[in-house]
Symmetry: C2
Subunit: 161 residues, 2 copies
């Protein structure tokens, strides 16, 4: 941290990345969830569905880690997806703690049917952005996330000397 990037004096919440991220989140969620309103999916469920499809995750703990989600909430989310016939649970035989998840044909069909809508949505949202800008935004958000993952959550708020 040789050269601090931010100074106390210029801090304004309008250009704070925290505020911007929150704003983006609040703008994005309702618009995204409106796209799969007929499938009655939460955004979390949508991400879980896609992550299972792409083989990125295979258990509840994987999902919780992948989207930095609470494990309890993840269990309940999977309950719903199982009830709707999108995924199945299978207790692992090698490690009996683990419950393996897999997409049902219906789950796969739902995922496939929703992708075009999402792609259309993003193409409309990113109209006016150059491919390089989209690439840059994606990469910077990924890097910032990776960086934050290395920073522990402070138990006690740090007192300034």
């Amino acid at each position: 941290m040789a050269k601090p990037i931010l100074k106390v004096a210029d801090f304004s919440c309008r250009q704070s990345l925290g505020y911007l991220n929150r704003r983006l989140f609040n703008l994005l969620m309702p618009r995204a969830e409106a796209l799969f309103a007929d499938a009655e999916l939460t955004f979390s469920q949508w991400v879980a569905l896609m992550s299972l499809r792409d083989g990125i995750v295979s258990t509840a703990a994987d999902i919780a880690r992948h989207l930095d989600h609470d494990t309890g909430a993840t269990t309940r989310m999977i309950d719903q997806m199982e009830k709707r016939g999108l995924v199945t649970r299978t207790r692992s035989t090698e490690d009996r703690r683990i419950v393996n998840l897999s997409l049902t044909p219906q789950g796969r069909a739902v995922a496939r049917s929703l992708v075009p809508r999402i792609v259309d949505f993003w193409n409309e949202a990113l109209d006016g952005f150059t491919p390089a800008e989209v690439e840059a935004l994606t990469e910077l958000m990924r890097r910032l996330g990776d960086r934050l993952e290395t920073m522990p959550i402070a138990d006690e708020p740090r007192r300034r000397a």
Copy 2:
């Protein structure tokens, strides 16, 4: 939308801006809120506090618009901040629908005392980023937010032909 940026075939949730935004959000919130744990502030309350301090907002409706927040939740958020002596409500005389908000000295003191922590946090989080990269990320997130604001929330999911 002359040249679509995304194609259905390459869609992967790992590099989706929706997923990245959600991930950033889930990483950011607990780390930020841990910073003002002793003030017992929510992230929303923190943003509201700063927005009032900077004169960006002056009513509940302003806050709701500024952080794309539910108006009901905003009312209850202000209830808490008022109960803690951070803000005061004053019914406007010109427009009797409006309740003007203003920071109390305590509210101002809390805001001032927390800013350095946030700045420190961001300087640590952004270590490894060039000033240009931070600038680019901020600007791209702002632009995407502005773009999304112009896009209405779909009532009916659009059927693809």
